[in-house]
Symmetry: C2
Subunit: 79 residues, 2 copies
Amino acid sequence: MKARVIVTLKGGVLDPQGKAIEGALKSLGVDGVASVRQGKVFDIEIEAADREAAQHRLSAACEKLLTNTIVENYSVEIA
Amino acid sequence: MKARVIVTLKGGVLDPQGKAIEGALKSLGVDGVASVRQGKVFDIEIEAADREAAQHRLSAACEKLLTNTIVENYSVEIA
C-alpha cells in the first residue's frame, strides 16, 4: 500500500528556513509571496492486511520517529 | 491564496536518508515498512489576481529555487 505522510510545523512555531526562502524568492523576482513554511514529506510503501492496519502502523511511525509532536503536526494519506 | 508545493526525488535517484528512516523504523518495531523516500513540502501564501497567475508564480518559484529539476519533481496544489 502506498502512503504519504506530511509533517508540518505547528502554528506558533518559528520557521527561519521558511523565512529565508521567502526572502530568497523576493530577491529572485518572484512576486506576491506572503509567507513560506517548510515541512517534510515521506512517501512510504507499507505492507498491512487492510487500510486500518496500515493507518495504525503509520501513526506509530509518526509518533516514534517521523514527527516531533511538541512542535510538529502530521497527516497520513493512504492511496 | 494558499498553496502547497511538494518536492520529491525522481524515481532512479538514491535516497540514503529514506533508507536510514526505513532501517530506524524496523529497529523501533514498526512492521511492514517496505520503502521510505523523503521529500520536502512548502506551504506558501501567495498573492495573485487569479489561480492561473498564482500557478505561474509558483512554477517560477519551483524552477528558480525550490526544486533541483535534475533530480527532483514538484507538484503544486492551490487550495
